[in-house]
């Protein structure tokens, strides 16, 4: 699924254009909209970027998404930001915003397609099916654990759209971290104490 993998690190201090309008953030020149970006995405970003510095923060992102996409919890917002900026800064520029926006539309399709009974929630079997389609190799027992974590409420734990995104981004992200350290020969991954904490913290502390 394109766009879910974290985009390469924008280089924060790569500005070679010192004369850019005296903006104190010039050295942290944000990305720009890819050519052909739909106008409504550009407008949404510009509207949220109140101080016009080319970045929107977590609260601004939460606000803009709740008007033109879906109401997400702050936790989901943080996970999205981490996934699409590959940093913990909780600031997003135009390019990452566009990638994320496009991705969310794809995720929405996945959600609706797998919500067979159309009750607005994804239950265990629907989630199992979803993960299979996406190639997430999560063992059944672990899937049950996951579901219970994300929905502590009733007898049949299920995910609404917000929780679904939260869950998928977490699993996808953790799977990527695992892969980075995986040995092709054994299928196991070796982590140092530092790399373990560093990889895992952004998901735990979203």
């Amino acid at each position: 699924m394109a766009g879910i993998v974290a985009s390469p690190n924008p280089t924060p201090f790569g500005s070679l254009f010192p004369g850019s309008n005296g903006n104190p953030f010039a050295s942290l020149l944000p990305s720009s909209f890819p050519p052909g970006t739909p106008q409504h995405i550009v407008d949404a970003f510009r509207y949220s970027d109140k101080d016009g510095n080319g970045f929107i923060d977590d609260q601004e992102l939460k606000a803009v998404l709740s008007t033109c996409n879906h109401g997400f919890s702050l936790r989901t917002i943080h996970l999205l930001m981490y996934s699409f900026t590959a940093t913990n800064t909780r600031l997003m520029g135009p390019k990452e915003f566009t990638q994320m926006f496009t991705s969310l539309q794809q995720w929405r399709d996945v959600f609706e397609k797998n919500d067979r009974d159309r009750n607005g929630k994804i239950e265990f079997h629907e989630l199992q099916q979803t993960f299979q389609t996406l190639g997430f190799n999560v063992p059944k027992a672990v899937l049950k654990l996951l579901l219970l974590k994300f929905d502590r409420t009733g007898k049949t734990p299920a995910l609404d759209y917000d929780k679904f995104i939260e869950c998928c981004i977490s699993v996808k992200g953790l799977a990527n971290k695992f892969k980075e350290n995986e040995s092709a020969a054994t299928g196991q991954a070796t982590f140092s104490y530092e790399s373990f904490l560093f990889s895992v913290m952004p998901f735990v502390l979203a």
Binding site: D57, N88, L174, A189, E194, F198
Partner: protein, 294 residues
């Protein structure tokens, strides 16, 4: 991961106040047991000060099966347990089952410490409970109570020192019994510095700790957290403005429990303490999932 049995918080002024020792329980009720030294409870339960060991291994007492008819304060607690602990537990265990769940734990902790957020309570519960149970009994409760007490003391000491050092730094003139001391823009006229210090300490007891203090705290608890990880921790609690980030006690406990928990999980897979662990995908996910929105 070495444990540091006597760690004195280090300030940039290199100052060690020779202040009277703070009582372990800075609470209205004086402890009724004969010895109120802060290490008595640790001693009686064999609970070592290095909390980076699995807590369960320090208990030689079997878990309770409710409240035995034996008299005294026992109620499932080993004899010699601080009455405050027993009282807090029993007050929330309304059905006398000998076990309490998360909301009851939240209530019990708010009597001595504060009302922790449910997320923090769940983290505490996860780290101290046995197996898959969703409840904890007297032994686990005692262990976590003491652990929180230790962390509370640490934060208090840090704040106390900061306060004292600041007051000393700000003392302008001393004139016999009267002196004028400015601190944070507030004047404590006509009071001895020592009185002002305690007043200020009292007010600031809900004080916050910053990144350096967090690192030192985790270090003194036996966790050498790499700088890269500390950055991630602080980005979670920061407000993005780049200003000094400070944790209140709830966040400090949340943070500490996460580091403690993940470190213990990691060590389970690195029994020879080489500093690295090899995991299957299944193991990896299972280690982490309990910490995702607990």
């Amino acid at each position: 991961m070495a444990s540091y049995n006597s760690y004195t918080p280090h300030t940039s002024h290199n100052y060690q106040p020779s202040a009277p020792a703070m009582p372990e329980n800075y609470a209205p009720d004086p402890p009724t047991s004969s010895n109120s030294s802060s290490h008595e409870l640790y001693g009686s339960h064999g609970y070592s000060q290095s909390t980076n060991q699995g807590v369960q291994s320090n208990y030689g007492y079997s878990s309770s099966y409710g409240y035995p008819p034996v008299g005294g304060q026992s109620g499932g607690f080993p004899p010699g347990t601080h009455p405050e602990i027993v009282r807090s537990f029993q007050m929330v265990d309304k059905d006398r089952s000998g076990f309490i769940e998360e909301r009851e734990l939240q209530e019990a902790l708010s009597m001595k410490y504060q009302k922790f957020s449910l997320r923090t309570v769940r983290l505490i519960m996860f780290l101290f409970k046995k197996g898959d149970s969703l409840k904890i009994g007297p032994n686990e409760f005692t262990a976590l109570w003491n652990c929180l007490g230790e962390w509370r003391n640490y934060v208090d000491n840090v704040n106390y020192e900061k306060c004292y050092v600041e007051m000393l730094g700000q003392t302008s003139k001393v004139n016999g019994m009267n002196c004028s001391v400015r601190s944070n823009g507030r004047e404590f006229d006509r009071k001895l510095p020592i009185v002002a210090i305690f007043e200020r300490f009292d007010k600031d007891r809900s004080g916050k700790i910053d990144l350096t203090e967090l690192r030192d705290a985790l270090y003194s608890l036996g966790y050498a957290v790499p700088p890269s990880v500390l950055q991630v921790l602080m980005s979670k609690y920061g407000n993005g403005s780049g200003r000094r980030v400070e944790l209140n006690f709830d966040s400090f406990v949340e943070c500490g429990m996460i580091v403690k928990g993940l470190t213990e999980k990691f060590k389970e897979k690195d029994k020879r303490y080489t500093g690295s662990a090899t995991l299957t995908y299944d193991e990896f996910l299972r280690m982490i999932i309990p910490f995702l929105i607990p």
